[in-house]
Symmetry: C2
Subunit: 351 residues, 2 copies
């Protein structure tokens, strides 16, 4: 049916403001596309620690597990960033949520907008036309391997572990996406040093014959970090493990000059979570200046996931319409700009 249960986790900093605009836009979508969204709100992150002592309260996890999809704002608060000794941290909530919901594939599309290209730190001729889709493994590797610090604080270790079962599903997902695009898949690893990287390589090599139309390339992570800046257009679909994906996808997110516009999806077998790439941006909290577009485009990815492709396309067109008409927040135009809520309303009205 066209009835969807959406868990809403506004989180910290500008999270609540941008997620609020996503809700506004979803209300418009519901009206036009004859569907219903039931929103259930949950506490998460620093907000949740302040109120309950737990960055991911049981109640929030229950709401998420019971939902068709999760809309997420941002987490993080300077109170914790400046205190590495804090035992309870907002990030733990996000990591636990990813693991509990089994969100193994973090997907980040990176596109450049013609009208914004001059905001890029890279030269126009280098960045223009870049169109990359990154698949980052999200629930294994060194993030979730065994960790240990000896009681005397003399040494510590973190284990990066991968099994073929953890690699195969996201590899298939990435191959399938490459088939729909320019048919090029690049695995980023450090196979000249790490056993886990060699496992990734072999596993992808074994899968490759099932996608004969896709060209599978390998690149070492250090070289990838260079190539993204030197010639980002060479990439189509990128696949990588959790830690490398964290670094490479953040590097990639700034080369287009519009991190305030970039959405992400974290997909599992049973559920999925959608969040803007930008963080909680505490300095902007409550000022009405945050750019709601990344959250709104994450909502478009959610509509695709919920199999409402027409609504998703309409939403993306509405965003393009706003950007082309310079109906944007201050980060994109310092001379003439609109508030978070004005931009959200403009997009909702277009729908």
């Amino acid at each position: 049916s066209s009835y969807f249960k959406i868990a809403v986790l506004p989180g910290d900093g500008i999270g609540p403001e941008v997620v609020g605009e996503s809700i506004k836009v979803l209300d418009a979508v519901a009206e036009v596309f004859q569907c219903q969204f039931k929103f259930s709100y949950g506490l998460m992150g620093a907000e949740a620690i302040f109120k309950t002592g737990d960055p991911l309260p049981e109640e929030t996890l229950r709401i998420c597990k019971d939902s068709d999809a999760v809309l997420f704002g941002a987490i993080g608060d300077p109170v914790f960033d400046n205190n590495p000794e804090a035992k309870v941290r907002p990030e733990q909530g996000l990591l636990k949520l990813r693991k509990e919901l089994g969100l193994y594939a973090n997907i980040r599309p990176l596109k450049t907008y013609a009208s914004l290209i001059d905001k890029s730190p890279l030269k126009r001729e280098i960045i223009e036309g870049t169109d990359i889709q990154i698949f980052r493994e999200l629930v294994s590797g060194i993030y979730f391997g065994e960790k240990f610090t000896d009681p005397d604080g003399k040494y510590a270790y973190d284990v990066c572990k991968y099994s073929t079962e953890e690699i195969i599903p996201i590899a298939h997902m990435a191959f399938k996406e490459a088939q729909k695009r320019r048919k090029k898949l690049t695995l980023i690893d450090k196979a000249n040093v790490l056993d886990t990287s060699r496992l990734w390589r072999k596993t992808c090599q074994k899968i490759a014959p099932q996608y004969p139309d896709v060209q599978l390339d390998y690149i070492f992570v250090d070289n990838a970090a260079m190539q993204l800046v030197l010639n980002p257009k060479q990439f189509d679909v990128i696949l990588t493990e959790n830690m490398f994906g964290d670094i490479i996808s953040d590097e990639a997110s700034v080369i287009g000059g519009s991190i305030g516009l970039l959405p992400s999806a974290s997909i599992g077998e049973e559920n999925a979570l959608f969040e803007p790439i930008h963080g909680s941006y505490p300095q902007a909290k409550g000022k009405g200046i945050a750019n709601p577009v990344a959250s709104i485009l994450s909502t478009a990815m959610m509509l695709d996931y919920l199999e409402l492709p027409e609504a998703a396309d309409k939403l993306r067109r509405a965003v393009e319409h706003a950007i082309e008409n310079r109906y944007v927040t201050v980060d994109l135009n310092s001379e003439q700009h609109y508030s978070t809520s004005e931009v959200g309303s403009f997009i909702a009205d277009y729908i």
Copy 2:
């Protein structure tokens, strides 16, 4: 005395050509500055595998251990890169050499050259004036931790381990360098996720009071990957662990637009190795087009290490003189250019 035993490992690809120019320049230095260099050559890398089956033959290791410093070209060959199953690989030789010589600190200075700034993929206003010194820990962490692949190929792991003893020496080195510069030290880590990163943070925090004039900052590695592209000028001295250093220092090396000019030093208690940052660049091998400047500037770092600062300065001035007079290889000027050997001779003659 002014007599130095230099181990010379030309290695693969363009390694022999660029190292040859360093030798030429050292001969000029010997004459002008009244010192003597005795060069002992060793096999290393793919070259060594082809000839002896071993990427780091015992004889080479002996020559290095018996030297005052090591001049190194490059390693790597497409034969191995395209075969992840190869049991013996050139990289193993380099990693073993680092470990055996205890080269715990890899140092990479990054400067921009006014006359070359337009070669950068970044916009002039972003990159101009960037001056960074990176300290990467080189003989521990996930590179040298326990590795395992189960015989059925179902899973694998790599352990990232650090002890405070492995962190303290390079931390002091980085603090001291910051004192000589703009007095800002940035530790790059992932302390919101990794126990080893938290150990790095605590260890640096403990050392910091000994350097009250240095400001110690922390940044997560994903954010660092963004900030290097958005605003590289914010960094002065960077300190980081082995794997993050591999990625971040390579990313940093391309933002200036002149990777063919960048030197590096790998320093230990008893010995040190100097090598250009660019790799073996097999496509250019034997063509006489490789840029010898990175190798020559690495040689300048070696002269500093051997406590010949005047010779080192003279060498750096000679390089600047060549660049200012556009006496450069094809990578820096496609219209009028000189061969590897012509550029080397020009620099040697100036000395």
